[in-house]
Symmetry: C2
Subunit: 192 residues, 2 copies
């Protein structure tokens, strides 16, 4: 019953793709609707306003990321392995679904990301926090606030993806080195 109507998802996915290409201003409802093969007016059957649509898109993307990453995590492994799984799964996901990463970045740095929005219950945020807390409690990570560890790791993932996206063509040499990044991050956060 928590099933989201398929037309609603169609609209969200259409908005996601458009926003990746053109940003928030470059994505009028008329275009979003056209790409989703519905009429402009229909968008308002599913969302109160464009703003509300974008807030729901934010929740949607984070819930998709959570679904994907949490289901591939194996809590029975030791934490170091789980960390590299986490890293690889997240970078692959962002690589496959470029619009996820692009939308999240745009949203986060935009004024949509109000204080209210940040205080909203955030399953993905709580999951990552719990993940890193386990690392700390099992003694494999530095004894720091898991929010901070999480922030550092996520920041690196984002930097990496951005790097890959921007420097797709040139600097083939550099791309060799990219494999070393998760190790560097691990060396930074592990218990020494």
């Amino acid at each position: 019953m928590d099933q989201i109507s398929s037309k609603k998802v169609q609209i969200l996915e259409s908005a996601l793709e458009l926003i990746r290409e053109k940003g928030f201003h470059g994505s009028p409802i008329s275009q979003v609707a056209k790409h989703a093969s519905v009429a402009a007016g229909s968008v308002y059957t599913y969302f109160e306003s464009k703003d509300e649509m974008i807030f729901e898109l934010y929740r949607y993307v984070k819930s998709e990321v959570l679904k994907e990453i949490s289901e591939k995590d194996d809590p029975k492994k030791n934490f170091e392995d789980r960390f590299f799984d986490f890293w690889n799964n997240l970078t692959s996901l962002y690589q496959e679904r470029v619009a996820f990463q692009s939308f999240l970045e745009q949203f986060t740095s935009s004024p949509y990301n109000t204080e209210t929005m940040q205080l909203e219950t955030d399953p993905w945020g709580r999951w990552t926090e719990a993940f890193f807390r386990e690392g700390v409690e099992s003694g494999q990570l530095r004894p720091l606030n898991p929010k901070i560890l999480s922030m550092m790791v996520m920041g690196s993932v984002i930097s990496l993806i951005r790097f890959r996206t921007y420097f797709k063509t040139k600097t083939a040499s550099a791309s060799q080195d990219l494999h070393l990044i998760p190790q560097m991050v691990w060396d930074g956060i592990k218990f020494q």
Copy 2:
């Protein structure tokens, strides 16, 4: 002679502040002009269009950051000290001038950040790349492409600032741990 007209700087600073508060859409030329105490039409004496104004703002902010950071760097010190100076100076700068960081993030993740824009000669980008190259060549950093090292460090700085901004009030405990971040980053990138 390369002096930028003070009215032009007034407009840029006004736009910077407004964009930090309200983002690109929330910063119409009429408002930018009002905050800069000029008429809307005058903006077009200094910039061809709103887009061109935003591109110039991007160049302006990066040149200000370069000026500030490069003048405080002391190449005579050993690289580890220079790294911590770099870190502290950059975080302080972004803390003092919140609009710099906010604008750069919004710009980078927006469609303004076209391929053409990225190919433009970028003194700040070249400076940081040279900085990390020196670290590699002096044997104090891991032998990686300096672009990648630069990216990792900048990503962490940004994450830290974001963290500070968003979690200003709550989690006072966490803020103790924030001091440890540059050390963690250094442990990740130093030659082991």
